[in-house]
């Protein structure tokens, strides 16, 4: 019988059954496991955001996901069930907890006005409102409905969108829908370079 480490622990967790399968009592080992800091944590299965191997990772958070409870990340490790990485992580994957809990993260919208030398804070509502107006203005000013031969082209060449390597498939699809509807031709991604 093939038993992975996780299956083993699951069997161990079943208590009495383990004694019959393995011929000895695993209760002391199980008790020790419960003292690990991750024992009471919520496990969330995710995928490492770095290279394209797609290592499975488990993010451990404290908090039971009840309303108004903010989960706290306490540990990130490789997912031993994942058939590609089998629990391993590289030096980048191993530091993912620092990527999630990083004091350098951006936490508020900001704007740098023309000619200014510093950032200013801006509310989300104002930021989105201003961006929407700029998008519309640029589109209306640069939109080309017909080319020189009179053929319909419906292009907006005054505006561009560039997407990153960790954007989800679903986000990328919404980008295509929104940007192509605006007529954007300069639609590019990390995938190009």
């Amino acid at each position: 019988m093939d038993t992975t480490r996780r299956d083993f622990l699951k069997v161990a967790a079943a208590g009495g059954a383990a004694a019959t399968v393995f011929g000895f009592d695993l209760a002391p080992a199980y008790a020790q496991l419960r003292e690990l800091k991750i024992a009471r944590a919520t496990e969330t299965r995710s995928t490492c955001p770095y290279c394209s191997v797609s290592c499975g990772v488990i993010i451990y958070t404290l908090g039971d996901r009840a309303k108004n409870v903010t989960p706290q990340v306490i540990h990130v490790e490789g997912d031993p069930d994942h058939p590609i990485n089998r629990g391993t992580l590289c030096p980048k994957g191993a530091s993912l907890e620092q990527d999630i809990l990083n004091p350098r993260r951006l936490t508020k919208p900001q704007v740098r006005r023309p000619g200014k030398t510093e950032w200013e804070d801006i509310s989300w509502d104002n930021a989105i409102g201003e961006i929407a107006q700029r998008v519309k203005k640029t589109r209306d000013e640069t939109f080309v409905e017909k080319d020189a031969s009179g053929r319909t082209v419906n292009r907006c060449e005054g505006m561009a969108f560039t997407g990153g390597c960790t954007d989800t498939n679903e986000f990328n699809y919404l980008v295509v829908k929104a940007m192509r509807s605006l007529g954007v031709c300069y639609l590019e991604n990390q995938a190009r370079v």
Partner: protein, 841 residues
């Protein structure tokens, strides 16, 4: 990848080139080691540096950056000269026997037939198959002068002339033989710097899998951006594909041509058409001459082109179904038959809008605004200085990011004075986004596996989910068009956005939309299976071109069906032992794990190697069956001779790529990098790629040896860092705290440089300053008889990061050095193999 990460364990032979998986894909590289340990597989590594991948290889060859086609062309020549070929595969599964049109000329002088120097373009009409039947034993028709030949229509002939004896002088195999006969071991040595005896050792080892007619063994080609980031990047990969087709390695477990890819979801970004020239599922963007949907579909839907007795599935013949289903997904009820399925809502493109062209036209003042999500354009380059200059000319910039990045802070790049900042009129919005752990949704890995991930926690502070920000901007723009009107508002007003919460679109809803659903009751007349209106589609075979189905990306159809999210499956069983894991996640297309797997069997439908059975023909059932999902028409019997390469109109693999498939020619030819230390030894008068895309602004300067740029420079990544991201992580910064320049001990001696000494690397565009890291991992090389030095620069430092903010670096991004010049097929810049000079700082 045609294959996958785990599948590498099935190989007998690896050629790893243009990639360094031991350092850049460490947890995937275990499968290469597994193959060495369990199958005694051999590994050949070819790289400018003795990398950690090279350290595990059976044979390592140091190559000059940018000389890859010469090496691979040499392998093609060696395989032909020594009869190390998969003959049955070559004859039946490739176009080796097809005849090429009269007037087609090989590039002995560096140019294929049809070149127009004035426009720097090719008339490709001779790059085509000849119409006709079986030409075996028949004399070649006399070549007529090209001038009197009737202008050929730019389409493939339906009935291709062929010679199964492969002897006709104009058959693809004979042309291939002639083309690469010039790539002798001596020529390979002159161009690549790899000594002839070492080249021959590698050529013998790699092709040894086909020694004495063996068809059981299999070899894998593994590469990354060390191949793509050249002005001939696409053609490097083409050469590898030709080699793998000749040796019969494509479609087989442990074989294939495998792009490792460097980021978690750039496979997905390509699939989903985050690039200017595509629509989701590799549909082509419409052009102005596509005056209606019918004209578009006629242009982009291929017609079968094959020898008469053979069969071809030509799966792209279903293009109309994919396109109409996409328009239904994008525009919902507004996409009606009367309104040509809203085809005119899509922009029509007649020129290139790729990455470098975007920055070039922003520099020229044509692109006024940029929305950038998780994409640090200033750092990505090429030519950081030009990109910063471009942003100064933009009216507005929106950056969605996790960390303070160089792009959002271009206006205060190092060296910018307060007075200069006051001159910069660009408005910059910097929006805090969500990290991977804070978002659900799917990534597609390089093995084409779509894997769902779950959100573990909410974004910090006021940061928002990227999809929410995009939705909120788009819906606000829509409101403005509703209120104020404006230019052609129809697509904006009618884009389907009926998510349960439109301001916060649920990604599972979006995945379901991408998968596709029935818009009317559907019935499969053959099987009697029914799908009711509103139900998720089980696969792309159900797509229709009459508006009764909607699917946002046909290749992802099957990812989220009525049976639930297939892409979230976690079955750990692998019944065949081949590492297929059929119930783990979901792989496009149709959960097939190895592409073109029909080619893993002989003509009769029996596996080449019975110990690695992927799929096979079951005569009793009258179907293809197997451990993997057959990538083929399931009921096509072997006697019908349908080709395994079902996405090509020929049905077979393209050793000769006809017509407009590639910009430079139907076979790859070695051209020197844009900045090269030597004239091309094959044809000094045509040294570079004749159809390369250069740029012409004041920033676009290219260096020469005469100007003192004599050292070959390449860029690379480190195991401990990830692009421009981990410079914000204390642990990664601690492990590799600062930038460096890797130079050889030989060069250090020649230049009088000590290890740890600060040095200055200068290209025609910019200067990079860091400590010298003197190693024996790079060595001086003899290129065309002259001694030359190569250096390597890791890319990970910019001017915002822990080390940068602490003043511990010179704030010089590596891409200050790189040239804006691109591959004319894939539009990828030449980050590898450019010229610099090196001095003490």
């Amino acid at each position: 990848m045609t294959n996958g990460w785990i599948d590498i364990k099935n190989t007998d032979m690896m050629l790893i080139m243009g990639g360094n998986p031991a350092e850049n894909h460490p947890c995937g590289f275990k499968w290469a080691i597994e193959a060495k340990r369990n199958r005694n597989a051999k590994m050949i590594v070819v790289d400018p540096r003795f990398t950690r991948t090279a350290a595990t290889a059976d044979l390592f060859l140091q190559i000059r950056a940018g000389a890859d086609i010469a090496f691979l062309g040499g392998l093609v020549n060696y395989a032909i000269q020594n009869n190390r070929l998969a003959k049955e595969y070559l004859l039946n599964y490739t176009n080796a026997s097809f005849l090429v049109k009269e007037g087609f000329q090989l590039p002995e002088n560096g140019l294929y037939s049809g070149f127009d120097p004035a426009t720097q373009t090719y008339d490709k009409s001779t790059w085509n198959y000849q119409e006709g039947g079986n030409m075996a034993g028949k004399a070649a028709p006399i070549d007529r002068p090209a001038a009197t030949a009737a202008p050929a229509p730019a389409v493939l002939p339906p009935n291709v002339a062929y010679d199964l004896a492969l002897e006709h002088p104009r058959c693809v195999f004979q042309l291939l033989k002639k083309q690469y006969a010039r790539y002798t071991p001596e020529t390979v040595e002159r161009i690549t710097g790899i000594p002839k005896d070492q080249f021959l050792k590698a050529a013998d080892l790699f092709t040894s899998i086909r020694k004495d007619g063996d068809t059981k063994k299999v070899a894998s080609v593994i590469y990354a951006v060390g191949w793509t980031q050249h002005t001939v990047g696409t053609q490097i990969i083409r050469t590898a594909a030709i080699l793998q087709l000749m040796l019969g390695n494509v479609g087989r477990a442990g074989g294939g041509v495998n792009a490792l890819r460097g980021h978690s979801n750039i496979q997905g970004a390509t699939d989903m058409a985050g690039v200017f020239d595509l629509l989701p599922g590799y549909l082509k963007m419409p052009r102005p001459e596509d005056t209606d949907l019918a004209a578009y579909l006629k242009r982009v839907t291929p017609t079968v082109s094959k020898p008469g007795p053979w069969d071809s599935f030509s799966y792209w013949s279903n293009t109309p179904k994919f396109a109409v289903s996409l328009l239904k997904a994008l525009y919902g009820p507004a996409a009606t038959k009367q309104d040509d399925w809203a085809f005119h809502y899509l922009p029509k493109i007649d020129r290139q809008y790729s990455w470098t062209q975007l920055w070039d036209r922003m520099y020229r003042g044509e692109v006024k605004g940029l929305l950038s999500f998780g994409m640090n354009g200033v750092m990505i380059g090429p030519d950081t200085k030009k990109n910063i200059a471009a942003l100064k000319k933009a009216e507005w910039l929106v950056v969605g990011e996790l960390y303070p990045d160089e792009t959002s802070e271009f206006w205060r790049a190092p060296g910018t004075t307060t007075e200069q900042m006051r001159q910069i009129q660009t408005t910059v919005y910097r929006l805090p986004c969500a990290g991977f752990a804070e978002k659900d949704g799917s990534f597609t890995n390089s093995a084409r596996w779509l894997q769902w991930k779950n959100a573990a926690l909410p974004p910090p502070g006021d940061a928002r989910l990227d999809q929410d920000i995009l939705a909120q901007i788009f819906l606000r723009v829509r409101d403005l068009y509703k209120k104020e009107g404006g230019k052609f508002p129809d697509p904006i007003l009618n884009a389907a956005w009926s998510y349960t919460d439109p301001q916060h679109p649920s990604l599972s809803e979006v995945t379901k939309e991408i998968n596709g659903k029935a818009l009317a009751d559907l019935k499969d007349e053959k099987t009697g299976q029914e799908i009711k209106t509103g139900q998720q589609l089980p696969g792309f075979a159900w797509l229709k071109d009459d508006g009764t189905t909607a699917a946002g990306n046909w290749i992802y159809c099957g990812a989220w069906t009525e049976a639930g999210p297939q892409l979230a499956r976690r079955g750990t069983e692998d019944p065949s032992g081949l590492g297929i894991y059929p119930n783990w996640a979901w792989s496009w297309p149709a959960n097939r794990r190895v592409l073109y797997n029909r080619a893993s069997c002989d003509v009769e439908g029996k596996p080449w190697d019975p110990s690695r059975k992927q799929v096979w023909w079951n005569e009793a059932a009258g179907r293809w069956v197997g451990n993997d999902v057959p990538d083929f028409k399931a009921d096509s019997p072997p006697k019908d001779h349908m080709g395994p390469f079902i996405m090509n109109p020929e049905g077979v693999g393209r050793i000769f790529a006809p017509l407009a498939a590639f910009a430079e020619g139907p076979f790859p030819e070695h051209y020197e990098p844009m900045e090269s230390p030597v004239k091309n030894p094959l044809h000094p008068n045509q040294s570079n790629n004749p159809v390369v895309k250069k740029f012409t602004t004041a920033e676009d300067v290219y260096g020469t040896v005469e100007q003192g740029f004599t050292v070959i420079c390449t860029t690379y990544r480190l195991t401990e860092h990830y692009h421009y991201w981990t410079k914000h992580n204390p642990m990664n910064v601690e492990t590799v705290p600062e930038p460096f320049v890797e130079i050889s001990a030989d060069m250090a001696k020649d230049y009088g440089i000590e290890g740890g000494e600060t040095i200055k690397v200068t290209s025609a565009r910019g200067t990079y300053i860091a400590k010298a890291f003197v190693t024996r991992r790079i060595k001086a090389m003899l290129i065309d008889g002259k001694k030359m030095h190569q250096i390597g620069i890791p890319i990970h430092w910019g001017y915002r990061g822990i080390a940068e903010d602490a003043g511990k670096t010179a704030n010089t991004p590596a891409n200050l050095l790189t040239p804006t010049v691109i591959d004319p097929n894939a539009f990828t810049p030449e980050f590898k193999g450019f010229l610099v000079k090196v001095e003490k700082a």
